[in-house]
Amino acid sequence: MGKWFSYSTATLCSIALHLGVAVLVANKWGHEETERKIVAPKYIDAKLLQLKEKEKPKPKKDNSAAKRREQERQKKLAAEKKRKAEAEKKRKQQEAEKRRKAEAEKKRKQAEAEKKRREEAARKQREQERQKALEDELFGELDEDIEGQIAENDEQVASSYLAIIQRRVSGNWSRPPSARLGMEAELIIQLVPTGRITSVRIVKSSGNAAFDQSVEQAVQKADSFPELKNLESRVFEKHFRNLRMVFRPEDLRM
């Protein structure tokens, strides 16, 4: 057995083993999704039971006359029972008959209602289709208009939220004494959809370090704007993901 032979057998074995494992894993995993059985909890109705004392067996009387009387009484009782049972049976039959009739009637009515309903639905659908076709025709022309409107609407919403942010930030801003008119600092605020500020970056310095710092601190102090949570993601992505703000000492302006 040469070296070459032992190495080539070993290589073959190894590759075969890995392929086998790969195939096994790929197959098993796909089939392993058994349906999950939902086991409903079993309920047991609890009822209050009334405890009754068991009737005690009556002491027997070995009196033959009494026995005969007893037998007679039982016979009478049995006859009575039979009669009653028959009457009951008849009554039940009648009732069943009645019920059947009522049911048939009900079914007929249901079927009718169903039919009517279906017709109604078909009619409605036809109408809707017609309406839709009409609308489509109309909207084909109006589509661009509507988009423009939506954008405008977004713009309005965004500006109202901007106003909120401005108010909050300017409330936190303490202008340094070295601030002069005409200074201007521009910064980019990164926000996440929950309204938290993830980073504040000054893109255009005012030239005054204290001023820049005060501006940055004002934004940091605000920490988060929870109102932004209510915003649609479309508007958020467009306007608030990277928010650009310009600060001037006389006012806070965008």
Binding site: M1, S6, C13, H18, W29
Partner: protein, 228 residues
């Protein structure tokens, strides 16, 4: 969504670095299995050859004949036992020294023993070949897999930061795909650890037998030199 999570898709959709890690681990696993099988065959055969050689040696056969037998086998390029190569090295040296008519028997013995020591260390090398590779696969591949996992989880959390609603369904596929790297690392490491431990014990054992044989053989030669 969960129905579409097959391992293959997870592997394909993994990030580049994780893929590289997985590829490395698969290669390491394949090569280590090559070593495992090859070492297994080699050690098994070595043990069998050693047993048959030892039987042959102690059967009272003439040492010259045994040497000639071995020469024939070596010329046919067949495998000879480690103990036999030790024997052949020692015997050759012994014959050379005695033919020269060296007067000092101790010098003869010393030369023979040196030749046998050299042959022994060569045999030890052969027995332990490839075992260091197994050891390094065993010790490093879990770490490599772990690295892939950590990287994958990092990526999936970074992706999470950009998502508005962070649910488990968003992170879970990323984490699952990252964990595959660890699974692969362990898959490569466990057989390597087992094989390394087993084979190094076997190799030690065999080497010990070779040493014992060398001692015995040198005592035979010693007797021969001093009884002259």
């Amino acid at each position: 969504m969960a129905a579409e999570l097959s391992p293959w898709e997870l592997i394909v959709s993994a990030s580049f670095l994780v893929k590289v890690v997985m590829l490395m681990l698969v290669l390491a696993s394949i090569v280590s299995w090559v070593m495992i099988v090859q070492r297994g065959l080699f050690l098994n055969q070595s043990r069998r050859l050693f047993q048959s050689f030892e039987q042959n040696f102690w059967s009272g056969i003439d040492l010259n004949e045994l040497f000639r037998d071995g020469s024939a086998r070596v010329q046919q390029n067949r495998m000879v036992s480690g103990a036999e190569s030790v024997f052949r090295a020692g015997f050759r040296e012994f014959n050379r020294l005695t033919k020269k008519g060296s007067p000092d028997p101790d010098a003869v013995i010393e030369g023979t023993e040196r030749a046998m020591r050299v042959a022994l260390s060569r045999e030890e090398e052969k027995l332990n070949a490839n075992l260091p590779f197994l050891a390094s696969v065993a010790s490093t591949s879990p770490y490599i897999g772990l690295f892939g996992t950590v990287w994958g989880i990092m990526q999936s959390f970074l992706g999470l930061a950009n998502v508005q609603q962070a649910t488990l369904a968003v992170v879970a596929p990323g984490i699952a795909e990252a964990l595959i790297a660890t699974a692969m690392g362990l898959f490569a490491a466990i057989p390597a650890v087992l094989a390394f431990n087993r084979y190094s014990a076997q190799a030690d054992n065999l080497f010990g037998s070779y040493q014992t044989f060398a001692e015995e053989f040198s005592s035979i030669l010693h007797r021969r030199v001093h009884s002259k």
